[in-house]
Subunit: 351 residues, 2 copies
């Protein structure tokens, strides 16, 4: 019997905790380390932090300082779920890769890091190759529904004239951090101000999706634009962590556009809000390809954000382990798929 795949989880926020729980529900994984700076988590057993029953696969003590546990060959894969931006997770990725671990990260910018940080991307690719590991950023968006699946669908097209992609999703189940990032509860004026000073970030991902399109189609867009608008409610909307009055902001409508040869080639629309049903907004993922042939896809309701990001990070682990070394994107690896049985059986060669 092969050894279990040894995982370190770096970051135990909602994504990291979800990933840890999903991993512990699969056969063939063991979590050998976990890192979180939160004083309510560090120092406790992982299973306690996750509010699960004890098991040998979740018995490690959560540490605050990565250096305590990241040593050469201490684990096979490091999952980094600590931030959205490449510049922030880069030192974490470097440390894990240099210790010989493959890396999977939820950091949105890492789904296509060349878009914003081409030099850091080159450096990560070099580090990965020197240490014989692979590095992947993924998630439901960016990384899957507004880019990867769109690109896959163009695989049955002779010609593409325009891609229109829309993801209308529900943020109701998310916590305070997301409410703040999206500007929920602000006045429209305050929202606009905070978009300008980057304290309302909205969706991090359009530049990465555009970068993925450019690579997939081997084109260079003439112009890429995005903007963030407040979604203002006409009715009271509340969640466990937010209470919004009429006239205030219940979410962020992100719009994106990429031109090729002077014409709009990709149009993206991503309004995210709490309690969309209160104003009869139907959530869903929509992909429309104008070309030969036309393709019109609808997924209703939308693929739910939290669980889907958690799942794709876990499901990509065996594909990342099997990959050639380097910095990878979803364009480089074989098609994702759910892990149904023992993950060890999906790993090629000896473990």
């Amino acid at each position: 019997m092969k050894n279990k795949i040894r995982i370190i989880i770096w970051g135990l926020g909602s994504m990291g905790s979800g990933i840890a729980k999903m991993i512990l529900g699969k056969k063939g994984f063991t979590i050998v380390g976990a890192i979180d700076v939160d004083p309510n988590k560090a120092g406790r057993r992982l299973y306690e932090v996750l509010n699960m029953d004890p098991s040998e696969d979740s018995n490690c003590i959560v540490v605050k300082d990565a250096d305590e546990i990241i040593k050469p060959n201490c684990a096979d894969v490091c999952i980094i779920a600590a931030a959205s931006f490449t510049k922030i997770v880069f030192p974490f990725i470097k440390k894990a890769a240099e210790a010989g671990m493959d890396v999977v990260t939820t950091a949105e910018e890492m789904s296509y890091p060349k878009a914003v940080d081409p030099e850091l991307s080159e450096e990560m690719d070099k580090i990965a190759k020197e240490n014989n590991v692979s590095i992947l950023g993924t998630g439901v968006n960016p990384g899957f529904i507004m880019d990867f699946i769109v690109i896959a669908l163009t695989g049955v097209c002779d010609k593409i004239d325009k891609l229109t992609v829309s993801r209308i999703n529900d943020l109701t189940c998310f916590g305070k951090a997301v409410m703040k990032e999206q500007g929920i509860g602000l006045s429209p004026e305050e929202f606009t101000k905070r978009v300008k000073d980057n304290s309302v970030v909205g969706h991090v991902g359009f530049l990465q999706s555009f970068g993925m399109f450019e690579e997939a189609f081997n084109v260079k867009f003439d112009e890429v634009k995005q903007k963030k608008e407040p979604i203002v409610t006409r009715v009271k909307r509340s969640t466990d962590t937010a209470l919004v009055k009429p006239g205030e902001v219940v979410g962020c409508r992100q719009l994106g556009s990429a031109k090729l040869g002077g014409k709009e080639f990709v149009k993206m629309e991503h309004p995210q809000q709490i309690r969309p049903e209160l104003e009869n907004v139907e959530t869903g993922d929509y992909i429309n390809i104008k070309g030969s042939p036309d393709i019109d896809l609808k997924i209703k309701p939308e693929i739910p954000g939290g669980i889907a990001t958690i799942a794709i990070c876990v499901n990509m682990i065996p594909l990342v382990i099997n990959s050639t070394p380097g910095l990878k994107t979803m364009l480089d690896l074989p098609v994702p798929r759910a892990i149904v049985g023992d993950v060890r059986d999906l790993v090629k060669g000896e473990s």
Copy 2:
């Protein structure tokens, strides 16, 4: 400038001709040979057979006998669009691979050849590796919409309980060969008889899709079943090549089912018919995943069969050229994508 990618097309039926035309519409390809046994095609220039304007990339003479043109290093890729079954295309594939060409084939069984011909599959893998080429079977179905895309969607699932996949499509635009294969115009009794003696084959692909699911999820189904039922019309339905009276067969409804652990895990439904709108049948592709999360996808109308199969065969060419040697499936290669610019720019290394 790199040399153009040199293509041989083996089989100039509707798929092979469509592939040739699409290739000639892209930058960076040249067709250096074409093979067809039809005396109306063999002996003529390719552009004449395709009913196109002359060009240096379509100037070759269509030959009847492959040995006339298939010589070592005579082309980079051979497209085989000559039959549905692995046993029939195997000698063609062998000849092309042994001459050093990568192979892409429309043969439905080749989308997952291990399902029906495990020994021939091993042999093809060996031939491919010995000759440093790769071999891929693909198409819209099997190869894409009822398997590959379903598998990709499970990539965002923690758990999958049941996959229900339905493709309701329109055969109106197809020719006499398809009408015959599908039993169109027969009485229901004659249809049933011909299904038994295999002169009505219906859709060739469920066993291949099931095989692809088994490999993707690393499972072995307890039981796999399929059946073919006549779709009987209540109204007169006609096309350019068929005229069907009420009470006669306008198509074949193929049903498939795969069990895992005693429970139905995959359910497939694929009714194909002419003029579905005359009895208010809405065509479409439908994928439903029961699991965590549930996903409900609709593509309406369905991805059209002909152009989509043509396109995916062409679009996979650079990915097949870039692949490691061996017999490949859509599960092994990076995600398909439309070819937008010059195909040579998509090929890694020297040409």
